[in-house]
């Protein structure tokens, strides 16, 4: 069979490309909203933990954050999504929603440590300068420390976004059709692995490339202003 024939069989016959398209749509939705959720929760956890580190307050919240981080960073993402689907959200039918929450919570655990590292890396002189002008802790944190910390961790956060995007490829395990699952369905129908799997890999590759380009642009813009 020629390349063109294989291509036509795998993607055009019976509109099989629709599996890839719908899968890609789900992958993007899951990755995008999980990323947003991860950034929000991770950010909050990082601020709580840093506040505790600096002031010794918020003991209980800090302990909760600590347990959360230990559990989510200490278990495989695969196991987490299965637990979420079959145990925690067993009554929820919306698989996409379950996947978003599972991947979001997983990503948040990593985002939290990245952002906390960024906050700790900001020179303590910045804190002292803010405080010595008469500002309260929170004001210095939000106006002075966090903007600098975020800028410093953009590359690490971008890495996390890329990892997250790729990890969503296990969504098939809860019966959800993401990009990977879509390609696999085609394979199981055509008995032809090469076309759908390489095609799917290429699509991931393009998305990852796009993400890293966006990061580069962001970094460049910030550097131009301040450095």
């Amino acid at each position: 069979m020629s390349f063109a024939d294989k291509f036509s069989q795998n993607f055009l016959e019976n509109d099989r490309y629709v599996y890839l398209l719908r899968g890609l749509g789900n992958t993007i939705v899951i990755a995008f909203f999980a990323l947003i959720l991860g950034l929000i929760i991770g950010f909050v956890v990082a601020v709580i933990r840093s506040f505790h580190d600096k002031t010794g307050k918020l003991k209980i919240l800090n302990a909760i954050c600590h347990i959360y981080l230990t559990l989510w960073r200490g278990t495989p993402t695969m196991v987490q999504i299965l637990i979420m689907y079959y145990i925690v959200f067993v009554t929820v039918n919306n698989k996409i929603l379950v996947a978003i929450i599972a991947f979001g919570l997983n990503s948040a655990a990593y985002v939290a440590e990245i952002v906390r590292g960024g906050i700790m890396a900001v020179d303590t002189g910045q804190f002292e300068a803010g405080l010595s002008l008469g500002a309260h802790y929170n004001l210095v944190m939000f106006d002075v420390i966090i903007p600098q910390a975020l800028k410093a961790v953009i590359p690490a956060l971008s890495n996390e976004a890329i990892t997250l995007l790729k990890e969503t490829s296990i969504s098939g395990y809860i019966g959800l059709m993401d990009l990977t699952k879509g390609a696999d369905i085609i394979r199981s129908q055509t008995y032809e692995a090469m076309m759908p799997l390489i095609g799917c890999a290429l699509i991931y590759l393009v998305m990852v490339f796009g993400l890293s380009q966006v990061t580069k642009m962001l970094e460049g813009r910030l550097r131009r202003d301040e450095r």
């Binding site: 002008l133 309260h136 002075v144």
Partner: protein
Amino acid sequence: MKDDKTPMITVRGLKKSFGDLNVLSGIDVDVAEGSVVSIIGPSGSGKSTFLRCFNMLETPDSGTITYRGKDYSEINDVAFLRANVGMVFQQFNLFPNMKVMENIIWAPVKIRKQSKAEARKNAIRLLGEVGLEDKADVYPAMLSGGQKQRVAIARALAMEPEVLLFDEPTSALDPEMIGEVLNVIKDLAGTGITMLIVTHEMNFARQVSDKVLFMDGGTILESGTPEYIFSESTNPRIKAFLSKVINGPKNE
């Protein structure tokens, strides 16, 4: 000389240690309103720690600081005190994420609740006083060390503090920039603002100070007029220190 007035700040029996290390071992000082007090002495003698007690960046273990009759230990609103007692740091500590103008108006707008327009007007005046009116719209990274420190002084002044603390304001500067910063500080002397200055610039301390404190090993070995400390004192530690700083290479 303003030493005849009731002192604005009195320090009594101030002690502070970090673990086993006694950094301040009983300090007594009076600071008159509007005066300039220089703090000199060898490295590690506790100058910075002492200075940082005045805006509560450090909390002493015992002893008292009384500011206009009020004991620091009774102050609940630390931020309010700090707004009145400004600080200028060796490393400038400008906020790199804000332009010069934003650095200066940040605290007046966010803390004093000044309108942006009013704060900007003040900032422009202050930038004029430190000779940097054309730098309002640049980021600190674009400035030289001396310019950064002058912005830091303007930023501190924008809160209209009664007291201004300087911790080695010129020690991080290239030699050719030291003068421009010292001149700004000299201009502030006699304007009514009270200044405490930790410095290794002996000529400057001699010219600008009403009172000089010589610190050694966590105590004030001697205090007095610049004339006394720099010329008359016969204390061997002080004489040895001065001859080393003035004659020796620029180290401690």
